[in-house]
């Protein structure tokens, strides 16, 4: 019996030590983050992660201590109460922080890319963060602000996310976060030039030529000149009219950039309307001319 108790005790100590090490790891992560965040201009991709990591650290710490060292029942109750109280405090601060910052995070369908946007609700700044080390990101671009309402996120491909939002003056805007490339990553190319030709989808036709891009939906045609077409990364262009986003055209994953012979382009493109209403991306196929 005593041997069994000793064995249980031994395992408790091992698990306790592992939990303590995990807690110390989380603690070091938090301290390291606080120490270098200003100098390296990094931040958690979602501001709530700070509190979640704190809570995880506290749970691991309390569990580890209780398993690793022998304590009295009274001490365990007091300790658990204190940790529970501190966790509640963290949760309150987490919910309060949502009044300061709004974080929008979205995982790509293949779970390899994360979209991160933060809105400072006091200054109204909206900043797109590019993840660098998993949960850590760096601010990369500022979006038009102030923003009215929520952000609508749609992944047009595993490496391209469309963020649709409305600014305070009721203009619809679209920002495209891109994480990939269709040309091997060796050189910049122009999406507009690469999709030169006629593309057909269900009740939609897109024509890209030297004058710009024209989109015909249900018999109605809209023309966008190149000055009103803005490229994001090397994966998508946003077509604007009167300083408002109207459409996004993105390159599908099966699209292979072939700059030397763009007329023989294969693969699909996706057309996505800039609207806050529910809408689905439309897949287009190149028409043989």
């Amino acid at each position: 019996m005593k041997q069994r108790q000793n064995k249980v005790r031994k395992w408790q100590k091992i698990i306790g030590a592992i939990l303590l090490l995990l807690a110390i790891g989380f603690f070091c992560l938090q301290m390291g983050y606080l120490f270098i965040r200003s100098s390296h201009l990094i931040d958690y991709i979602d501001h709530r992660l700070f509190y979640i990591i704190n809570i995880a650290c506290m749970i691991f710490l309390a569990s580890g201590v209780f398993l690793f060292i022998s304590t009295t029942r009274r001490l365990k109750i007091i300790g658990s109460g204190i940790v529970l109280l501190l966790i509640v405090v963290q949760l309150i601060m987490l919910f309060n922080s949502n009044n300061l910052i709004k974080s929008v995070t979205s995982l790509s369908p293949d779970r390899k890319n994360v979209l991160s946007i933060k809105e400072n609700l006091q200054t109204t700044e909206v900043v797109y963060y590019r993840p660098h080390f998993g949960i850590i990101g760096r601010p990369e671009e500022r979006l038009l602000s102030p923003v009215k309402g929520d952000f609508k996120v749609e992944w047009l491909a595993n490496d391209a996310a469309a963020v649709t939002y409305q600014t305070a003056d009721n203009n619809t805007q679209q920002f495209i976060a891109t994480y990939g490339d269709r040309g091997g990553g060796t050189s910049y190319y122009y999406v507009g030039a690469e999709i030169h030709g006629t593309w057909q989808g269900e009740n939609v036709q897109l024509v890209s030529d030297t004058e710009g891009i024209s989109i015909t939906t249900d018999g109605e045609s809209e023309h966008f000149e190149w000055d009103d077409i803005h490229q994001f990364g090397t994966l998508a262009v946003v077509l604007e009219k009167n300083n408002e986003a109207a459409w996004t055209v993105s390159l599908d994953e099966n699209f292979q950039v072939n700059e030397d012979t763009p007329e023989r382009q294969n693969g699909n493109i996706t057309l996505y309307q800039a609207t806050m209403n529910d809408n689905e991306p439309i897949e287009l196929t190149k028409q043989i001319e």
Binding site: S97, E140, E141, N258, E259
Partner: protein, 316 residues
Amino acid sequence: MKSFVLGISAFMLTLLTIISMFVYQKLDFFITSPPGFSEIDDTTVSAPGGPAADALRPVDYEASTSYSLQNDELRLTYNQGEDWVNVPIEKEQLFSGEYQGNKQELMEHSYILTEDRAAFLHAESSNQHVRSILLTYSLDQGATWETSEVTDAFPAMRFRKVDFVNDQFGYVIVSGDRTMSQEFSTVFLTHDGGETWEETNNSGVSRMIADGGFVDESTGFLSFGTIDPAEPMLYVTQNGGDSWKEAAFHIPEEYDHVFVIAETPVQEEDQLTVLVDQGPNGDYAGGFVKGKFVSEDNGETWDFLEEVDPDETASE
């Protein structure tokens, strides 16, 4: 041991709680607009009581010498953003030609920015059609500026590169007038620090240019084939651009169609070396390994030396 573990645990809990309450909960802790990152658009929609105009921020906040394109003006800093000097070029002129980026950072290779020389390649105006190409430069950290005309007429630029090999000798490589996958490219040289420029003889190649450069006043290179090439196409001049001829690559059979786009060769001791990358469709060893070639005859023929992994190529 028990006291130590309890003490450390109490310390960690206390510190995490204090930081959460008194540091992380403060609004100014949430840096959503730190210095050194670009804005998607300068035309931020204004709102009553909205944020005031931003302070100038260098594009590269770690470098002592950097620039800013905020407020549609090009400014330089030589002390990490403490002081700024204006560059007498309109922002749109810097992006003239075939450019569709967000104009928040200068185009790579289109400028030189060191403590001794600031030089910016730009068009006479932002007009997309035929315009002269100018180089505006300063050798005294922006106290005085000179503008020289590289050429008086050139179609809308696509590729553009300016660099100096020494104080006096420099080169400009530009391409333009692109139609699908064909374009015109040419080289201009200066032997007087950028005051005057003369065009070299043309290489006669109309494929899209990928890179180029000179290693000394006589020897220069132009690399063609931007996307999906089958083999490297590198043209060399050994007489300062009077004539150009295609360099020969001796590619081992196992690397045939693997290493296909040449970068600009560099001088390494008494020989020239060039890295050749795999192009857009390369998937050999992950697609990022490059082939290193050496030339013993000043760039006419190139022999394979070794594979160079991505880490090494990144550091070069």
